[in-house]
């Protein structure tokens, strides 16, 4: 994968470069602000951009705005924004234009290297990676229909909304992929969602439902 990094904290930036290089990815550019990020993405056309939300000059939502710009101007590039905080408002802004090739994670998640690189790969492949916190907030809002789900089905739904594949869900819940498929079918039937082929489209359907 070819990756561009935008992160203003030098230590974090160096760490990310090392981590990604270690996993065999190519870091085309590592920049400290949103402006430079847009230039780097235009120049290198990476598979994924990893973007910190709070960057100079205002240290508020530069990364988020840059991410939305990248999606508009470079649809081939996936964007993973990450931050020290999960702000539901930012998640909503990010998902307004759809969840494909998008990710929003807490910075903490980078520490679980396998999960993080897995999320990057999903985004590059057109999928989604949402932090469990974001999903938790989506599921918390009282939605008619959700109370029809069993506890296990809600767990599966949450993991689906995070963007995980059947195999990922199975590993996470320590159940077989077969039972995951069964649960997924049950959820789609109960929520009256059209059955979707492929993990990515399935995620989008779930997110569209949760955000409706």
């Amino acid at each position: 994968m070819r990756v561009v990094i935008a992160e203003d904290a030098a230590m974090m930036r160096e760490g990310l470069i090392r981590l990604l290089a270690d996993r065999g990815h190519q870091v085309c550019a590592a920049v400290p602000d949103g402006e430079a990020l847009l230039t780097a993405v235009a120049e290198h056309g990476p598979d994924v951009a990893v973007v910190d939300i709070r960057m100079p000059p205002t240290h508020t939502d530069e990364g988020l705005r840059a991410a939305i710009d990248i999606r508009r101007d470079h649809p081939a590039t996936g964007v993973l924004v990450f931050s020290q905080y999960i702000e539901p408002r930012y998640a909503a802004r990010l998902l307004e234009g759809g969840a494909a090739k998008m990710g929003y994670l807490l910075k903490d998640r980078v520490a679980d290297v396998a999960d993080f690189t897995d999320a990057l790969a999903r985004i590059a492949a057109g999928g989604t990676a949402l932090d469990p916190e974001v999903v938790g907030q989506l599921l918390r809002a009282d939605r008619p229909g959700l109370d029809m789900l069993t506890l296990r089905e809600r767990e599966v739904l949450a993991l689906m909304a995070e963007g995980r594949s059947n195999a990922g869900i199975a590993a996470s819940l320590s159940i077989s992929t077969g039972s995951v498929e069964k649960h997924v079918a049950g959820i789609f039937a109960k929520l009256d969602l059209p059955p979707s082929q492929g993990d990515n489209r399935r995620v989008l359907a779930v997110l569209a439902y949760l955000r409706s």
């Binding site: 203003d8 904290a9 230590m11 974090m12 160096e14 760490g15 990310l16 090392r18 981590l19 270690d22 709070r54 205002t58 240290h59 508020t60 939502d61 020290q84 905080y85 702000e87 539901p88 408002r89 930012y90 998640a91 909503a92 910075k107 903490d108 980078v110 520490a111 679980d112 290297v113 396998a114 907030q137 918390r140 809002a141 009282d142």
Partner: protein
């Protein structure tokens, strides 16, 4: 008998007045301050003149540069309050030392942020401008002070006449010398004397003016003391309240700015380091793999360190968010929307805030909304909550309503009374309408700035 004694005491007091410590102190005071009092307006005028005639060419009225004059006046305007404060504090100390007139210090000057803020703070420095008023009103008092000093000087000079008359006027009887003028503080020498007995008259006049001198001095000093008390002290109650309000606003703003900086320092410092540390530990953990019995122990240790770093990150995040929620930097509507999206009960947010209040006010509004939301979720059993923020007539209005069971009482529990306290720090208002059975409506009004 006692009347006689009173008269006697009064006469004695009158006769010894010139020799008292108090008279001496007051005289010294006038001698020191009169030149300063006159020098201040003269200095200011001279400065303006120099600025006015800075343009090349002879200093004729038609060559006066109005730009220079205006620049000079501006400089004076900006510098005057600070300079006046300094002179005023010198004056206060002198009055305390020599006159025993102890006046409390005015509130100290609080500077603003940025060039414009500093300029604004200077121009609105109430105590500074009162000190300027003192210096201006003191000019006539200083002139009167010189006049009072003149009583002493002429008194002493006149007393000396009989003593030097014999030395300088021991001429032959047929030589005619012009008469010698004798001084009076009233007008320039209307009286002249030509003979030795005349000097006794001058002596008497000198004694009289010395007897009067301490009272003239005292009158002038009293006027000055009155000015000092009223203009160099902390000021009237109204003024004092205004000063306190200003100081409080500054304190509220300062603390908001401090908390914001603290959060940013945490974010850029400790949080970033910890995230990088956790990332490196995560990488190390993966590198260790699962094989080798001696690696198992190391793996366990790295595992623990990794988990510890992640836990610390979480705790630090909660702490930093409690200090200052970073999303507030993008504005109150965004922050409230974020709050609403994270709520377990659906929340409708409407926000119309065309003009942003100061950060301190936004922070108070945000934490109030967060607290009210948490209260509603915990106690109200509501199905919907609404948050409405608007800015009618310049004040920020925050209304949080829920369709729950009501019965919210600030007397019970610390949450609502804590809010009232928080709102009170900026003279805001908190109204709670929560009849048993609901609905609950809490409205908070906050000024646009602290």
């Amino acid at each position: 008998m006692s009347a006689m004694a009173t008269v006697g005491r009064t006469l004695t007091a009158f006769a010894t007045a010139p020799f008292t410590r108090r008279a001496r102190a007051e005289l010294v005071y006038l001698v020191i301050v009169a030149p300063i009092g006159i020098a201040v307006p003269v200095g200011a005028l001279a400065f303006l003149m120099i600025m006015g005639f800075l343009a090349p060419g002879p200093a004729k009225p038609e060559n006066v540069s109005f730009g220079g004059l205006a620049a000079g006046a501006l400089v004076l305007l900006v510098l005057a309050p600070r300079l006046a404060r300094r002179l005023g504090s010198f004056q206060r100390r002198l009055a305390a030392r020599l006159l025993g007139e102890r006046v409390a210090e005015p509130p100290s000057f609080r500077t603003g942020r940025g060039v414009l803020g500093r300029l604004d703070a200077r121009l609105r420095d109430g105590a500074g401008w009162r000190a300027v008023a003192y210096l201006l009103l003191r000019v006539p008092v200083a002139v009167l002070g010189l006049y009072a000093v003149e009583y002493w000087v002429t008194g002493l000079v006149n007393l000396s006449y009989p003593f030097w008359w014999g030395l300088f006027r021991n001429h032959q009887p047929d030589v005619h010398l012009s008469p010698v003028p004798f001084l009076t503080p009233l007008k320039s020498s209307p009286f002249h004397i030509a003979t030795y007995p005349g000097t006794l008259l001058v002596f008497a006049a000198g004694a009289a003016s010395l007897l009067v001198a301490p009272w003239v001095t005292r009158a002038v000093v009293l006027a000055d003391r009155w000015l000092i008390r009223n203009l160099l002290g902390p000021g009237s109650l109204t003024q004092r309240v205004r000063d306190l309000e200003q100081t409080r606003a500054q304190a509220v703003d300062d603390s908001a700015a401090l908390l914001r900086r603290l959060e940013r320092d945490l974010h850029d410092g400790a949080q970033a380091r910890l995230a990088a540390l956790a990332m490196n530990l995560g990488l190390a953990k993966e590198k260790l793999g699962d094989e080798g019995p001696e690696l198992a122990q190391i793996r366990e240790l790295v595992d623990a360190a990794h988990q510890g770093a992640k836990d610390a990150l979480g705790e630090l995040r909660d702490l930093a968010k409690g200090i200052h929620p970073p999303i507030l930097d993008t504005g109150l509507p965004d922050a409230l929307a974020s709050l609403a999206l994270g709520s377990a009960i659906p929340v409708q947010v409407t926000a119309e805030v065309p003009r942003r209040p100061t950060p301190a006010i936004e922070t108070i509004a945000y934490f109030c909304a967060a607290e009210l939301l948490a209260n509603a979720v915990k106690h109200s059993h509501a199905t919907t909550i609404t948050i409405h923020v608007a800015e009618p007539s310049g004040w920020l209005l925050l209304i949080v309503t829920d369709d729950g069971v009501g019965g919210a009482d600030p007397a019970r529990g610390t949450g609502l009374s804590g809010l009232a306290h928080r709102v009170g720090t900026v003279d805001g208002h908190l109204d709670i309408a929560s009849p048993p059975g609901g609905p609950t409506r809490v409205s908070i009004r906050l000024p646009p700035h602290a």
